[in-house]
Symmetry: C2
Subunit: 357 residues, 2 copies
């Protein structure tokens, strides 16, 4: 089976490039002061997570949702759900996972702490918690300092939970193109996080985990004293947005499409629109056709401007480079695994909301 | 079961509002000169298509993909796949559908015509074809006039296919906010389409179908002499993009989320990010909280700026109004059907690529 035999649009992942990215990232975390906790949200694929763990240097896995944690539970890793978990049913699912492996969640409220503690008590397990800090992204998280310390004291006293430390995702700096500015802004964020970790330690509270980082800051935040783990995800597959930050990883996945229309010398249309890859970080790039650009991405169509003389015919397969890994992987049920043009495996993606199925 | 019992994020559809939209649109197409051919791509939901057909005024259903046609095949309607169908397997799937019901596809090339004709011949069926014209969107489609007429002659001679007419989607004008400008631009596009239809008729070729239109032009293109059917889809569910064009339909679906963080008086965060609703037409609106706005939509988070004194607590359910119906429905496996806050049914969505499952 080759890429000409599979239905399009399809996600194809070059397993050699994927493994090189995974090894390169693992190779950065070779001393014990800081580990890697690969983020599952980028791919939602147990087989990719398995390869990330097998490469070493990992403290466990990061997930954004309970569903993602359930999808990789079979791997037996230490799981961090780096997000606030609210709602009795959802907390009970976390507690169920905690029967078989270490599971930690983020908390930024007394309500969240109570909910996960109650679920843990119902299940007779202990769930780890990290105090979630707003280090500049202004999404979830408490203010660094006293506010965080107060919730940490409550977590240390609460039944069913074990305080493990703090986290603070510097998501607002990941995509800054200029390396110097990215370093400066990540530094500001990480100093707030580390200072709060020190507050906890001085108060005699546990703080083994200080978790942060992403693909744009793995070698910035990951080198700062006091940060114990980096939650990078996109590095494994990559996209045009992270490519433009200059991080040292190669493109490992594409959307494969079929040319369905060739209405003029300077234009073709492929059957892979934004239902097959999102455009929230811009239109995709065209792989392997110099001078070709995507001029429009509609529901089921990629409109491509071609350079003079491009030998593109109806029925040809083309590859587009997505601009944003995470939501693109989420649109598909499988990765078709390729070596060159051969399809050597198919990996299921735990996309969407398994609780709806 | 109420909306507080279902897992979030979730799509909820108000069946009363949906049915009112469906009736309102059907009520526009009451004479026989122009019919409605509701577009399945907006919802990918057989039950919604069934209600659209039951409301009357329909010539059949429109689909963008073969998978969508397969998902609504059980309804037995006349199916138009308003897209170029390329590839032997895909053409064979169309031919299989044509055993049980009338199926028509768009063609804009000799290659496309040959492929569908060969598949039809293999299956011993006839597949209808419409000559697809570029009426200004510059996506697929032949130039109106002679180029289209040449392919129409070929289609009339080809084995396995039946020429049924022409189509030309004025997608480039659907979202123009100013009604006068939308009318003018749609008029230009439709005159090209109707003129080509007349060319076919003068050449003695069949041209029973002249298909165009969408939710933004149903009462513009749908009133032009020579247009026989309108391919509108979004009107059934609606979104903020079409709302801003002033079309007379009400919002009938929302993304339901749970507030998971309340980090400050002026901000809350809900668990419904752009993996649950796309932002290619902008951030969603907040339903039912005056003065609240979505300031960021990340993978799994909607960050919402709240007005002073908003009584929003962790655990509350909120509703967001998507900016773009079609790709948002495509992110979910089901619609939760509501009457008020009661969940009265669950409708499966044929999202993504069923051929991958």
């Amino acid at each position: 089976v080759t890429i000409t035999d599979i239905p399009t649009p399809a996600l194809v992942v070059d397993v050699g490039a994927l493994d090189r990215n995974i090894r390169r990232m693992a190779g950065f975390f070779t001393d014990d002061t800081c580990r890697l906790r690969p983020h599952v949200k980028a791919h939602k694929t147990a087989e990719i997570a398995r390869r990330q763990l097998a490469a070493g240097s990992c403290s466990g896995l990061t997930c954004a949702t309970v569903s993602e944690a359930e999808a990789v539970a079979e791997l037996g890793a230490d799981l961090l759900i780096a997000n606030e978990i609210i709602g009795r049913q959802r907390c009970d699912r976390v507690a169920r996972l905690a029967r078989a492996q270490a599971v930690t969640v983020a908390v930024d409220s007394a309500e969240g702490l109570d909910a996960i503690g109650a679920a843990a008590a119902r299940a007779g397990v202990t769930v780890g918690v990290l105090i979630d800090l707003d280090v500049g992204q202004h999404r979830c998280g408490l203010r660094p300092g006293q506010e965080a310390l107060t919730l940490a004291h409550a977590a240390a006293r609460a039944a069913g939970v074990a305080l493990r430390g703090v986290m603070g995702y510097e998501g607002h700096v990941q995509a800054i193109r200029d390396r110097g500015e990215r370093e400066a802004r990540a530094g500001e964020a990480m100093r707030m996080l580390v200072a709060t970790a020190e507050l906890l330690l001085r108060a005699g509270l546990p703080c083994d985990i200080v978790s942060a980082g992403g693909t744009g800051t793995f070698d910035i935040s990951g080198r700062m004293a006091g940060i114990t783990e980096i939650q990078a995800g996109s590095y494994a597959l990559m996209d045009t947005d992270y490519r433009d930050t200059g991080v040292p990883f190669e493109q490992a996945f594409w959307v494969l499409g079929t040319v369905i229309s060739r209405p003029s010398a300077e234009r073709c249309v492929a059957d892979c629109g934004h239902k097959s890859m999102t455009k929230d970080h811009g239109n995709p790039s065209v792989h392997g056709i110099a001078g070709a650009t995507v001029t429009a991405l509609n529901d089921e169509h990629a409109v491509i401007a071609l350079p003079p003389g491009a030998g593109i015919a109806i029925g040809d397969r083309i590859r587009l480079v997505p601009s944003h890994t995470d939501p693109t992987a989420n649109l598909h049920d499988v990765f078709y695994v390729i070596e060159g043009d051969r399809v050597v495996d198919v990996w299921p993606i735990a996309r969407g909301y398994p609780e709806q199925r």
